[in-house]
């Protein structure tokens, strides 16, 4: 465990080394946050509702989506594909740690770094703009939100790793990853809450893993689910995590059998 902790710490230090580069990333995120915030502020009536969301709820959703997105979607798994393609995987296979454990530790380092800045940015945002937001006071909902975010982190890691492992079979890794994240940005509820869609589409999305990467944790925080829906949601999210883990294990074993260490 100490080893993986050191890997996470090294990732943190690596991001501190390229500070200006990281600042560019954060400026990008702040710009996107402000764009979406002011758009929804403009379309939501001050004392009315839009799609069943009043202004505090929709603005909380938008800010929550940004915060959850910075935790869940910041990842290092895109480097896995390069590792496999240029043969660097060979060095990792002889080291005394699990390859996937190493990348998960790097992911955690990356996420913690992004989270610390996201919290700081949101704090400045609150101080300057004083947005009217919904504050959840129910401890159970808050704990469940954190649990849902942790599940989303794990699921996104499995999905990112699966996409990276395409490199065992094809040198083109960026393309499927690009399409996947294009779809996720929409279907995870990053642009708008998924419960504004027709009920049939909502039921379909509830069965897919995407909504659990963004919409599900935020909707829990907003108190949108009944107890039954919470149990169903968590069951589906856990089931997807298990399925993705099994698939990842199978793909990893099959990939290693054909790995030829080209370029190394």
């Amino acid at each position: 465990m100490k080893l993986y902790f050191q890997v996470a710490k090294n990732t943190w230090d690596e991001m501190l080394t390229y500070r200006f580069n990281f600042v560019m990333w954060r400026v990008r995120n702040v710009l996107q946050l402000l764009t979406v915030y002011y758009l929804w502020l403009a379309v939501t009536p001050q004392n009315g509702q839009i799609f069943g969301y009043n202004r505090p709820l929709i603005l909380t959703y938008v800010l929550g989506a940004t915060l959850v997105g910075s935790i869940v979607f910041s990842t290092r798994t895109q480097e896995m594909g390069d590792n496999i393609n240029n043969g660097d995987l060979s060095q990792f296979l002889i080291r005394p740690f699990r390859y996937l454990g190493y990348w998960f530790a790097r992911d955690i380092g990356d996420k913690l770094f992004n989270l610390s800045f996201a919290v700081g940015e949101l704090a400045i945002f609150f101080l300057i703009l004083h947005p009217s937001l919904f504050l959840q006071t129910n401890i159970a909902f808050l704990l469940l939100t954190i649990l849902a975010v942790l599940l989303a982190v794990v699921m996104n890691f499995f999905i990112g790793s699966l996409l990276g492992m395409i490199a065992f079979w094809s040198p083109e890794v960026w393309a499927p990853r690009f399409i996947f994240f294009t779809l996720v940005s929409f279907f995870a509820g990053g642009l708008f809450p998924l419960d504004i869609l027709p009920i049939t589409l909502q039921r379909i999305f509830a069965l897919l893993p995407f909504s659990y990467l963004g919409y599900f944790p935020i909707a829990i925080y907003l108190g949108k689910f009944s107890s039954t829906q919470l149990v169903q949601g968590f069951c589906i999210a856990i089931l997807w995590s298990i399925l993705l883990y099994i698939l990842l294990s199978v793909v990893w074993r099959k990939g290693l059998k054909i790995y030829s260490s080209e370029g190394n």
């Binding site: 580069n21 560019m24 990008r28 710009l31 502020l41 403009a42 399409i179 294009t182 779809l183």
Partner: protein, 263 residues
């Protein structure tokens, strides 16, 4: 000039051959480009489903704005320039600019026009159909004047965007590890799909540097909506020419500090 047209014709052919060799790349780019186009329209539809006007722009105006964004930026700009700018950091960080500096033609031309992403043309085509449909559904006629105005203002809009990107990415000469600068520029492009008044609403002075970006799509869109004014036209053309000149001057200045991969 004739030489550059001849070189560009050759580049068009080479890129076409690249498409034939890497068909999967083309299909992936095409799929994600069309998906982004659809998402941008759906997002605007959802945002405006309970409001008749946003920042003074009616629902029809906003749909036309999204359509023009997909034509100019999502389509034409991504086809001609995006792939070239994506490799900017790579070229400078790895010293590949040395080879381009030795070539017997302008380096800015080489960096800007080398690659062409043909899948973007499909998005242009689909966006034109979509925009035409929106205008006809709103009974807004596409006259010769509005079409020619759109074409000319679209050209200057693209000039603003190209110059803004080139000016900003030139800073990589001094900071070669700044690969997230490209991500930031993609985020700033997205602002142009919304009304310019959105930037004013943000009330954050440093973002005023993004003001030219807000004109890229809005002014050509106003031409199609028959609401463009002389001041819009003069502002867009003036900013476009100034930025293009600045990008050229700044690039020439920055090259003095380029130290190749060993620097």
């Amino acid at each position: 000039m004739k030489r550059y047209f001849s070189i560009y014709r050759r580049l068009l052919m080479l890129n076409y051959h690249r498409v034939l060799i890497h068909k999967a790349d083309f299909l992936t780019g095409l799929t994600s480009s069309i998906l982004w186009g659809i998402f941008s329209i759906v997002a605007m539809y959802i945002l405006t489903s309970r409001s008749n006007s946003v920042f003074g722009w009616s629902r029809t105006d906003l749909f036309v704005l999204v359509g023009v964004f997909n034509i100019l930026i999502g389509g034409i700009y991504r086809t001609l320039f995006s792939r070239n700018f994506d490799r900017f950091t790579h070229v400078i960080q790895r010293g590949e600019l040395d080879g381009l500096l030795l070539k017997p033609f302008n380096t800015q031309f080489a960096l800007s026009f080398w690659y062409i992403s043909y899948y973007g043309l499909v998005r242009v085509f689909l966006a034109i159909i979509y925009t035409t449909f929106v205008l006809s559904a709103a009974h807004i006629a596409i006259t010769v004047v509005s079409f020619v105005s759109f074409f000319i203002l679209g050209f200057f809009g693209l000039m603003v965007l190209y110059s803004f990107w080139y000016l900003t990415l030139t800073c990589i000469i001094w900071f070669p590890d700044l690969y997230n600068l490209i991500e930031l520029l993609y985020a700033t492009d997205n602002i142009s799909r919304y009304p310019p008044q959105l930037l004013g609403a943000m009330k954050f002075a440093p973002f005023l540097v993004l003001f030219p970006i807000t004109l890229i799509v809005s002014v050509p869109a106003k031409a199609l909506l028959h609401t463009v004014t002389l001041s819009d036209l003069l502002l867009l053309v003036g900013i476009a020419l100034c930025l293009l000149y600045l990008s050229k001057i700044f690039w020439q200045f920055a090259l003095r500090y380029y130290t190749s991969a060993s620097g």
